[in-house]
């Protein structure tokens, strides 16, 4: 019941939050905070797993009956990978809550309902070990996310939310087909009807059809990642989403794509994964460079960060298909590190937008004098994003590059050049925003009265500083994180090499 409670707490908390708005519009955020903190309780005991010598296959395993007719179970289970991502989700949930604390003033109850439900859906995705259940969470988490963007977003929110929903739903339908194909093919080959991951993974399906099914799953996942041909929803969604939604989107929603690749595509379709690896590596390599170059020409800060996400998630894709333990660990690290650094950047942009009413790079500039604390933290995350050694991002990208160099040297070279471009756009952010001549918006807001623009509040500063600490810790001492996932990833690799 531990994992189930992990899902139920935010679901119920959301409803309570919505209802509490009737009494006072301030209550919902407190309810949301309380339920998020409560969520930590079930997972806290498992932090001891960091100290374990040998990771068990599953930390928790909770199979439950659901639809016996099709042998669908509500099988929730958590291993090292799921654990890390759930922790990331919960942490980023708090960050999102913190960024929404004062920003959201209208319809607060419904906002926190959607926020909590999105988190519940994402955790469900990370914990579901039944493919049908996984699919259900995969699709359902989009609905509250859609509402978050469509109701509380910026100018063009309806369009952006619509695009986001359509892209991911189209991918989802493809996954539904592949899912049905997978189960039926598995039934044909083994005469076991099951949607359960642990059953399916024991006898991976083979044949031509398996290849197409694998492609279906992969496409669904890389739409979410997002990888190159399907990425265009991300910049729009990010730009229009409210800060909290951007944080959730960047920190955890994108990770579901990478998680799906590592969890499902690689072990369930080892042959097919090998067959499509070159294509995926190409997409990843091009994606890294393309994302960086697009980021380079953006004027809108949020859009810029969104494109940088495309670039960074390219590394995840690269790591997944390199079929190498280092690369895979790198991909996992990248998911964690990118989750933290990018959401921090979105929080910062949110703060800037809140203070200066713009996120146009040309109108910003010279913030250092005005908001030094904010700018200092911004500098840190800008540098983190370019892959400064000693921080989590560097470890991750380095591992991916090392892991994939062995087999795919050329892709690695291309991707590494993406790092250089990354350095350029990160420096552009830093220069144009925090240094450089003062922009229009900055000046006008100064004219209006300096009192209006305040530096980071304690709440904001604490949030960001905690993120700084985690990122540094990941950079200097990444071993526990890697141990956590190593045994399972090794199994995955072993399947692929058989």
């Amino acid at each position: 019941m531990i994992l189930l409670s992990l899902l139920l707490i935010p679901l119920i908390g959301g409803i309570v939050a919505w209802y509490s708005e009737r009494f006072n519009p301030d209550y919902p955020r407190w309810v949301a905070l309380a339920s998020l903190i409560l969520c930590w309780v079930p997972v806290l005991p498992y932090f001891s797993a960091f100290t374990l010598e040998q990771m068990p296959q599953w930390l928790v395993d909770e199979p439950m009956r659901w639809i016996p007719r099709l042998n669908i179970t509500a099988h929730l289970a958590m291993d090292g990978l799921s654990f890390l991502l759930v922790i990331l989700t919960l942490a980023m949930g708090l960050v999102a809550l913190s960024s929404a604390w004062t920003e959201i003033k209208k319809r607060t109850g419904f906002f926190y309902l959607n926020l909590l439900w999105t988190l519940a859906g994402v955790m469900g995705v990370f914990l579901a070990m039944d493919l049908f259940l996984f699919f259900v969470f995969w699709e359902v988490m989009l609905v509250p996310m859609y509402l978050l963007i469509a109701i509380w977003g910026y100018e063009n929110r309806q369009y952006a939310a619509f695009k986001f929903f359509m892209f991911t739903q189209a991918g989802g339908l493809l996954m539904l087909l592949s899912l049905a194909g997978l189960v039926i093919l598995h039934y044909q080959q083994t005469h076991i009807l099951s949607f359960d991951y642990t059953v399916l993974v024991q006898n991976p399906i083979t044949g031509d059809l398996a290849y197409w099914i694998a492609v279906g799953f992969t496409v669904a996942f890389i739409v979410k990642l997002p990888a190159l041909p399907f990425h265009s929803w991300l910049p729009d969604a990010h730009t229009q989403a409210p800060t909290a939604a951007s944080v959730i989107l960047a920190a955890v929603l994108l990770k579901t794509g990478g998680y799906g690749l590592i969890r499902f595509v690689l072990p369930l379709f080892p042959d097919a994964a090998k067959a499509i690896a070159p294509l995926m590596m190409t997409i990843a390599g091009v994606g890294v460079v393309y994302g960086a170059m697009m980021a380079f020409v953006q004027k809108d800060l949020k859009r810029l960060i969104a494109y940088s996400s495309v670039s960074h998630m390219g590394f995840v894709l690269l790591g997944c298909f390199a079929m190498n333990i280092y690369a895979l660990q790198g991909a996992v690290m990248q998911m964690l590190a990118h989750g933290i650094s990018t959401s921090a950047l979105f929080v910062l942009v949110g703060m800037i937008q809140y203070r200066f009413k713009t996120r146009d790079l040309d109108k910003l500039g010279g913030l250092w004098q005005q908001v030094p604390r904010l700018s200092a933290i911004g500098l840190f995350f800008g540098v983190a994003s370019l892959g400064m050694p000693g921080l989590g991002n560097f470890v991750a990208e380095f591992l991916v590059l090392v892991g994939s160099f062995e087999k795919y040297p050329w892709y690695t070279v291309v991707a590494a050049s993406g790092l250089i471009l990354g350095a350029i756009y990160s420096l552009i952010i830093i220069y144009k925003t925090f240094f450089g001549p003062r922009g229009d918006s900055v000046q006008t807001s100064e004219v209006k009265g300096a009192a209006e623009v305040t530096d980071t509040s304690n709440r904001e500063a604490t949030t960001l500083l905690v993120m700084v600490v985690i990122l540094v810790y990941m950079g200097v001492h990444p071993q526990p994180f890697m141990d956590m996932v190593q045994s399972n990833l090794l199994q995955t690799i072993a399947k692929g090499l058989l």
Binding site: F165, L176, L177, Y187, Q188
Partner: protein, 476 residues
């Protein structure tokens, strides 16, 4: 008379009773109650039959599925009946006849669902269609209603003429009108086999009119828009379900999938319906027209079931799985659709998507119900519509019907656009103009909304019991 005829007898008695009370004294309340009591008794008598061993007479078939489907039909009718009183009160017409025609149409559809013979099928169909003409053209003052009535009369007459022609040809070929004999004499016709195919095409043509599938879909939107709202609801649910059940029965009993031409035609119609229906829905602003087009697409999806037998199978689970898929999908779709209509009946002044702007912030229960129903129509998980679609996809994948499946995926994606647009409209911040003060929520309506949410989400999230029931019924 065996117990199996009891529901029909109860309905007939109800009709006669309300006719008598009507001739003595016109009173809306009495007619409403008689109708409701009759529906309730019919449901009870059907409920008693569920799970009993079935029989087959010459004219009718009472297997395990038939009373279940009939019960579903009656639940749908009753859900419409609940709001009928209020809705009819607003109508400036004589009220009592509506109940009479409603009961007769229900009787017709019950007969159709149970029919095992062309004569009983034909009579049930005509009983239903003629009652529907009255129901469509009920409101004599409304220009649109009359137009819809005329169109429906012509449409249904042409459809039944086509079906009759098909029946006549098959009769000439085989000398029998019973569904059971259709397949047995498949080889020994008096005329060349193309005549059989022609006959089948005629019947299919008529059925396509009844189900408003693509080449025959032109007037369906006019009908939905022009007919009184409750009638549109009945048209979309009662008439289509009954027609589809019969089509499914004759298609499988007659083994029509053995004719390659027929398979090609049905496949083409299915694909065209999915794509065209959804595409036309995309261009619609009027909610009723949107529903009309979406129903074209949904019955396009359902046509896949007919073709299953024509494809190689992998003996997946049991052979009854396709039956379960049909039943599940039909039930899911019907509940969803009747839900949409009852929400629309609660807000009669809302006609287009623009009228919905900001509804969520004024009437959250209504808006949430409608939004969930739209998600169910679109097939988003945790709704009953998704479970139906999942069954369908599983079956179709099992039979490796990739062409139809890809059409289904494309159709669903297009469909998402307009279902989502409805939701988008409701959550849009109202710009001050939209005024929902005219909307009064009745307890009736509220309860109905909760019931709909329960059906759509409850069965969508926990379909186990329901799927088990359908499995048992399909086996028996």
């Amino acid at each position: 008379m065996s117990l199996h005829y009891l529901p029909a007898i109860v309905l007939i008695i109800t009709v006669l009773l309300s006719l008598t009370s009507l001739s003595l004294k016109r009173h809306h309340g009495i007619a409403y109650l008689i109708c409701g009591g009759g529906l309730l008794l019919t449901m009870l008598s059907l409920f008693m039959q569920i799970g009993k061993t079935g029989t087959t007479s010459e004219l009718f078939v009472f297997d395990a599925i038939t009373p279940f489907l009939s019960l579903i039909l009656l639940i749908v009718v009753s859900m419409i009946w609940v709001q009928l009183y209020q809705w009819l009160e607003a109508l400036d017409e004589r009220k009592e006849e509506y109940y009479l025609l409603l009961l007769l149409a229900t009787l017709g559809s019950l007969i159709m669902v149970a029919s095992n013979h062309f004569t009983s099928f034909f009579l049930g169909l005509e009983l239903m269609s003629l009652s529907f003409v009255g129901l469509v053209a009920y409101s004599g003052r409304e220009f649109k209603g009359q137009e819809a009535g005329v169109k429906y009369l012509i449409l249904s007459a042409v459809a039944s003429a086509l079906m009759l022609m098909g029946m006549a040809i098959l009769y000439l070929q085989y000398g029998t009108l019973s569904f059971n004999d259709l397949s047995m004499q498949g080889a020994s016709g008096t005329l060349p086999s193309w005549v059989t195919v022609t006959g089948i095409i005629f019947i299919l043509g008529g059925m396509f009119f009844k189900l408003s599938l693509v080449p025959c879909h032109l007037w369906v939107a006019d009908l939905f828009e022009g007919a009184p709202l409750a009638t549109s609801a009945l048209l979309a649910t009662l008439s289509k379900l009954a027609a589809f059940v019969v089509l499914w029965r004759i298609f499988s009993l007659g083994e029509w999938h053995t004719h390659a031409v027929i398979v090609d035609i049905v496949a083409a119609v299915a694909i065209a319906s999915m794509l065209v229906g959804n595409f036309l829905g995309l261009l619609q602003n009027n909610l009723l027209r949107l529903l009309a087009y979406s129903s074209i697409a949904h019955f396009g999806y359902l046509l896949i079931i007919l073709l299953l037998a024509a494809s190689p199978t992998t003996a997946f689970l049991t052979s009854t799985f396709s039956t379960e898929a049909v039943v599940f999908y039909l039930v899911a779709y019907l509940f969803t659709l009747v839900g949409v209509f009852s929400v629309l009946m609660q807000m009669p002044q809302i006609k287009t998507q623009q009228d919905l702007t900001g509804l969520f912030w004024h009437k959250p229960t209504l808006a949430i119900t409608l939004a969930l129903l739209m998600l169910s129509l679109a097939g988003i998980p945790l709704t009953i519509g998704f479970m139906g679609k999942f069954y369908l996809v599983m079956t179709a994948v099992n039979h490796q019907m990739w062409w139809l499946l890809s059409a289904l995926v494309i159709g669903s994606v297009i469909g998402l656009f307009y279902y989502l647009r409805v939701i988008m409209m409701m959550i849009k911040a109202p710009d001050g103009e939209s005024d929902f003060s005219g909307l009064t929520m009745t307890t009736n309506g509220q309860l109905l909304n909760y019931l709909i949410i329960f059906l759509v989400i409850g069965f969508g999230t926990f379909p186990a019991a329901f799927s088990q029931l359908i499995e048992t019924l399909s086996r028996g």
